[in-house]
């Protein structure tokens, strides 16, 4: 019986993952042929790490399935952009639709997976990723709240600590929430976590840090993924 993929893997002989490596680790876990929405910013880079034969079909909430890579040179068409408003290309078999249909397919549970960035995720899977709540900050929510409740699974891609060293995986979010109990997995530079709905967050894999060190740096109950 193979249990290796479900046992914690600790890569302690190296530093934490770089941004590209984080995206590659997440891309590795996207099921073949899945319908996937990649959020704006770093989640968008996950597309660069999908194998050519993955069969993954990318959704962009501004009205397209079958989105291709970023457009360059003569391919750039102002009528063909992604949710981050970056010019993209269409793949054979692409489909266009209007915004109400685009969000109906999202909110109706037809997307297999979305990948979002985050300011904070709580141990129970609450997500905070749209507003810092700081005075003078202009709030912008876009499709984050719809994606978080609509996709069948929600993967978060984020650094584990802020620039000042504060953990972003927390017991309770202090930033305004995007959605309650919606996150399934968190891919970070130091570790990959699974939110189980139980009283502990499961650690699947670590980089540049051991499970025991990780436990001392986070204020949430952790369990090592076990066979």
């Amino acid at each position: 019986m193979s249990v290796a993929s479900w046992s914690i893997v600790e890569h302690t002989g190296r530093g934490p993952l770089g941004r590209d490596e984080m995206a590659r680790v997440l891309a590795r876990d996207i099921p073949r042929g899945a319908y996937v929405n990649l959020g704006i910013g770093q989640p968008t880079t996950v597309a660069d790490h999908l194998p050519p034969d993955s069969g993954v079909i990318l959704h962009t909430e501004n009205g397209m399935l079958g989105m291709g890579p970023a457009a360059t040179g003569d391919e750039i068409d102002p009528d063909l952009i992604n949710a981050g408003k970056i010019p993209v290309t269409e793949l054979p078999g692409a489909a266009y639709f209007h915004h109400a249909d685009s969000f109906a397919m999202m909110r109706g549970g037809h997307l297999d997976l979305c990948v979002l960035g985050a300011y904070q995720v709580s141990a129970s899977g609450d997500l905070a990723n749209w507003h810092t709540g700081e005075p003078g900050a202009i709030p912008a929510v876009g499709g984050a709240m719809d994606l978080a409740v609509g996709a069948k699974r929600v993967f978060v891609l984020m650094s584990l600590f802020t620039r000042t060293g504060e953990p972003k995986l927390v017991q309770e979010c202090s930033y305004p929430l995007t959605a309650l109990r919606c996150v399934d997995r968190i891919y970070t530079d130091h570790a990959t976590f699974e939110i189980t709905g139980g009283d502990r967050v499961l650690v699947r894999e670590t980089w540049g840090i051991s499970f025991h060190e990780l436990r001392s740096r986070l204020d949430v109950p952790l369990a090592a993924a076990a066979p």
Partner: protein, 220 residues
């Protein structure tokens, strides 16, 4: 009956002060720039604008904001790298913002166009954007009640129209335009091409002409 106008200025005639105006587009894709510029020349003020964003750079919707014609913006994503016109007005307290999750924005417009008095959605439950709103348990899940968003005028952009107002769009420039076309008392479309009835494949029409009051060809 759809009227084919000879200029954008003719197309926006009669828009009253205080109107609620839907503006199509996602960023600048599908934004009806020439209709917006005509609206600036037309002079209506104290407007409530419903759009996904709150303008980019100094053009299009941003120019309407800059001209001081907009009292309130209803949108999902005002803050962008080039949204300085909105940002400045907002920080100075010169414009009101109603922030709506993008899917709720689309569905509220759809509800308005389809005669639906409201709908329950899971989007926003437990967040600041659902504070004070009615919630309901349905099949063990919590939903929040959202109301339709109807408007006086929709300014939209399509690729090709026939003279009956049937519209087809191009790529992701479609975005909010078809759903906005359904949600306004008067829908005004700028299009790149106008063709005779019969020239569009009826199977390919996205917005049937019943929703479209005025069209104007803008060959940009």
């Amino acid at each position: 009956m759809t009227r084919v106008c000879t200029s954008a200025d003719e197309a926006v005639e009669g828009i009253a002060d205080g109107s609620t105006v839907l503006v199509g587009g996602f960023g600048t894709a599908g934004m009806p720039f020439e209709l917006i510029y005509a609206l600036i020349r037309q002079g209506a003020r104290d407007l409530t604008v419903v759009a996904n964003n709150a303008g980019n750079g100094d053009t299009g919707l941003a120019a309407l904001l800059k001209a001081g014609r907009v009292r309130k913006v209803v949108c999902s994503f005002p803050r962008q790298t080039d949204s300085w016109v909105f940002d400045e007005l907002y920080r100075a307290g010169k414009i009101e913002l109603e922030l709506v999750p993008q899917g709720n924005l689309a569905e509220r417009l759809r509800a308005a166009g389809a005669g639906i008095g409201g709908f329950y959605t899971r989007t926003g439950v437990g967040t600041l954007l659902a504070e004070g709103k009615e919630t309901r348990e349905i099949d063990g899940r919590t939903y929040v009640l959202e109301f339709p968003l109807a408007a006086d005028v929709a300014l939209i952009k399509a690729h090709t129209a026939d003279t009956l107002g049937n519209l087809v769009y191009r790529k992701t420039a479609r975005n909010f335009n078809p759903v906005m076309a359904t949600a306004a008392t008067t829908t005004i479309a700028q299009v790149r091409h106008v063709v005779e009835p019969g020239a569009l494949d009826p199977e390919a029409v996205v917005t049937p002409g019943i929703y479209v009051d005025r069209i104007v060809q803008v060959p940009s």
